[in-house]
C-alpha cells in the first residue's frame, strides 16, 4: 500500500531531519509515529504527500512512485491522500461546509470551486460526513465559531471528502484536552476501520498511541529505532526512543487522568454525546487492551 524506501530529508540549514527511513504500511493498518520533538515525525508525513520535498529515497503509494511527480500528476496523487493537522488548519473565515467541500478541490475545475458550484454528489457526501462526525447542524457556521474538538471533526470530514486511500495525521490531539483527545482518536480509529483506510498518525502522547493504533514506529533523530505492536512498547524501548525517564510513574499518573476524564464525562452527561459518536466505545477499548 504505502512504501517508503530509504527516505531522507536534509534541510538547507544542514539538519538531517530523516536519515534513510524505510517502512511499509498495509491496507487498513493504523501506524502511530512517536518520538521526541525534532525527531522528524512531521517531516516524514509531509514527505509522503510532498508538502516537504525529500532529498533522497522514494515513496510508493500502490506501487506508484510519488517522489518524481510534479504538476497535475502530483495534484492527482495528493487528492487521494487525506491530511489532518495539529491546529486543525481549517480556513477560519470560510463556513464548515466550504471547508469540507474544499476536500474536493483536487477533483473539480477552478470555476466550480470559485463559484462554489460543487456537483450535487460532492455536497451529498459532505452532508453525510458532517452527520458522521456529529456536526450536521453546524454546516453553515463559520469555522472560527467552533470549539477545538468540533474544528478537528471538520478537519476529519475534509480529509474524508477527498475519498482518500491513505490518511496522514499530524498531531491530531496536541491542541485538545484529554477527553476530547480520546474522542477524536476513537473517531479516527472507527473511520479507518469502516473504510479499511491505512493511516500514519504522528503523535506525542504515548498512552493515546498505545490505546488506539495497531503498530508503533519510534523515530529518533531521523531514524527508525522501534517498529512493532503497542504491546512491545516497554520502558526499555521508550528509553531507547526518548532517553531516560521514569516511565512507570508517568503512565500511572496518566492512567489516573484518563479515568478522571471518563468520570467527569459521565457526570456531565458526556455519555449522551459519546453515544452519538459511535456505539459502545468502551467495549472496543476493552477489546484493544
Amino acid at each position: 500500500m504505502l512504501r517508503l524506501d530509504n527516505l531522507a530529508k536534509r534541510y538547507k540549514t544542514g539538519d538531517h531531519a530523516l536519515r534513510g527511513v524505510s517502512l511499509e504500511v498495509d491496507r487498513g493498518q493504523i501506524v502511530g509515529l512517536i518520538g521526541p520533538s525534532g525527531a522528524g515525525k512531521s517531516t516524514l508525513i509531509r514527505c509522503i504527500n510532498r508538502l516537504v520535498e525529500p532529498t533522497g529515497g522514494k515513496v510508493y503509494l500502490n506501487d506508484v512512485e510519488l517522489t518524481s511527480m510534479s504538476g497535475a500528476d502530483l495534484r492527482r496523487v495528493r487528492r487521494r491522500i487525506g491530511m489532518i493537522f495539529q491546529e486543525y488548519a481549517l480556513v477560519e473565515r470560510l463556513t464548515v461546509m466550504e471547508n469540507v467541500l474544499s476536500g474536493r478541490l483536487g477533483y473539480v475545475p477552478f470555476w466550480r470551486s470559485f463559484l462554489r458550484r460543487y456537483p450535487q454528489a460532492d455536497v451529498d457526501k459532505a452532508f453525510a460526513l458532517l452527520e458522521r462526525v456529529g456536526l450536521a447542524e453546524h454546516a453553515d457556521k463559520r469555522a472560527d465559531e467552533l470549539s477545538g474538538g468540533q474544528r478537528q471533526r471538520v478537519g476529519i470530514a475534509r480529509a474524508l471528502e477527498q475519498d482518500p486511500e491513505l490518511l496522514l495525521i499530524d498531531e491530531p490531539t496536541a491542541s485538545l484536552d484529554p477527553k476530547t483527545s480520546r474522542q477524536i482518536m476513537r473517531l479516527i480509529r472507527e473511520i479507518c476501520e469502516e473504510r479499511s483506510l491505512p493511516a500514519v498518525i504522528n503523535i506525542h502522547d504515548v498512552l493515546l498511541a498505545r490505546m488506539f493504533v495497531d503498530r508503533i514506529i519510534g523515530l529518533t533523530a531521523g531514524e527508525v529505532v522501534f517498529d512493532g505492536p503497542p504491546a512491545e512498547l516497554d520502558d526499555a524501548v521508550l528509553t531507547r526512543i526518548y532517553g531516560a525517564e521514569d516511565w512507570t510513574a508517568m503512565q500511572t499518573a496518566a492512567a489516573e487522568d484518563a479515568e478522571d476524564a471518563e468520570d467527569a464525562a459521565a457526570a456531565h452527561g458526556g455519555h449522551v454525546r459519546r453515544a452519538a459518536e459511535g456505539e459502545r466505545p468502551e467495549e472496543r477499548l476493552a477489546g484493544l487492551a
Binding site: 504527500n49 508538502l51 495534484r75 492527482r76 496523487v77 495528493r78 487528492r79 487521494r80 491522500i81 491530511m83 493537522f85 491546529e87 488548519a89 481549517l90 480556513v91 477560519e92 473565515r93 470560510l94 466550504e98 474544499s102 476536500g103 474536493r104 478541490l105 483536487g106 477533483y107 477552478f110 470551486s113 470559485f114 478537519g155 475534509r158 477527498q162
Partner: protein, 271 residues
C-alpha cells in the same frame, strides 16, 4: 551586567554608572541643540508681524463671516466631480495594486529575484510622489479636467493599497494554505481558498481607508487644474472672495465627516 557586590550582597542596577552619565550627557546635548535652533529660528522672524497676527486673523475672520450660503448652488456640481474623482481613482488604484501586491509579497511572488523588486519599485515610486504633484504632471500631459484628477489619485493609491495589502499577504497563516494544497488543489484554487479568505478583511479595510483619504486629497486637486471643488476654491481665493472660501471649506468639512463615518462603518462591518 551591572551587578556589584556591596557588603557581601549582590546589588542590581539598571545601568552601569558610566552608562548613566553618558545618558545624562545626551540629554544635555539635546537641550543645547534645542536652544540653538530656537535662536536661529527666531533670529529671522520679524516680530512686528507676529505681534500683529491676532489683529490680522480677526480681520480675515470678519471678512470670511458670514459664509455666502447662496454660493452652494455653484458648488454642488464640482462636489459631485470631486467625489467621482476620489471613487474612480480609488478603483483604478485598487485594480492595479492587487496584482502588484501579490507579486510583491514574499510568499506569493512567482519570482523573488526579478518580479518582486519590480513590484516593490512600483509601490515605492507611487508612494514617493504626492497626488498634487501627480496631478500637476498629468495636467500638463493630458490637459486639465477630471481625467487627470482620477489618474493622479489612482497612481498615488497604488502604492498605499499595494504596500498594506502585500504586508497583509505576508502575515497570513501558512498552515491554512498548506492544508488547502494538501487536498490536491491547483495554484488558483490555493489562492482562492487558502489566501483570499485570510486577506479579505484587510483588503476591505485598506480600500475604504484609502477612499476616505482620497476624498480629502481630491478637494485640492482643482488648485492645479485637475477638476473638482478645488477649482472653485482657487477662483475664490484669487478674487479675495472670503465668504465663498468659508462656504467651500464648510462643505469640504461636511463631506470629509460623512466619508469618515462611512469608512468607519464599513471597516466595522467587515472585521
Amino acid at each position: 551586567m551591572p551587578v556589584r557586590e556591596l557588603d557581601g550582597r549582590p546589588v542590581w542596577q539598571r545601568r552601569t554608572t558610566r552608562r548613566q552619565w553618558a545618558i545624562w550627557a545626551g540629554w544635555l546635548a539635546g537641550v543645547m541643540l534645542f536652544v540653538w535652533c530656537w535662536k536661529l529660528m527666531t533670529g529671522r522672524t520679524i516680530w512686528a508681524f507676529v505681534w500683529d497676527a491676532p489683529r490680522q486673523a480677526a480681520d480675515i475672520g470678519s471678512r470670511m463671516l458670514p459664509p455666502r450660503w447662496s454660493y452652494i448652488d455653484k458648488l454642488l456640481w464640482p462636489l459631485w466631480d470631486t467625489l467621482n474623482i476620489a471613487t474612480l481613482g480609488t478603483l483604478l488604484g485598487i485594480i492595479i495594486a492587487v496584482p502588484v501586491a501579490f507579486l510583491a509579497a514574499r510568499n506569493t511572488t512567482p519570482s523573488a529575484l526579478f518580479l518582486r523588486p519590480v513590484a516593490l519599485f512600483i509601490i515605492v515610486a507611487s508612494r514617493s510622489i504626492n497626488s498634487l504633484i501627480w496631478a500637476l504632471l498629468l495636467v500638463s500631459m493630458i490637459g486639465p479636467g477630471l481625467l487627470a484628477g482620477i489618474i493622479a489619485i489612482g497612481l498615488r493609491s497604488i502604492g498605499f493599497v499595494g504596500k498594506l495589502l502585500y504586508e497583509a499577504i505576508e502575515e497570513i497563516d501558512e498552515s491554512q494554505v498548506e492544508a488547502v494544497r494538501a487536498t490536491g488543489a491547483s495554484g488558483a484554487q490555493v489562492l482562492d481558498y487558502g489566501i483570499v479568505p485570510q486577506i479579505l478583511p484587510a483588503f476591505a479595510g485598506i480600500s475604504v481607508f484609502r477612499w476616505d483619504i482620497n476624498i480629502r486629497e481630491s478637494t485640492i486637486l482643482g488648485l492645479v487644474g485637475a477638476g473638482g471643488i478645488g477649482l472653485q476654491l482657487q477662483a475664490s481665493l484669487n478674487t479675495l472672495a472670503w465668504p465663498q472660501v468659508t462656504m467651500i471649506l464648510l462643505l469640504v468639512l461636511g463631506t470629509v465627516l460623512v466619508s469618515e463615518w462611512v469608512s468607519a462603518k464599513v471597516r466595522h462591518a467587515v472585521i
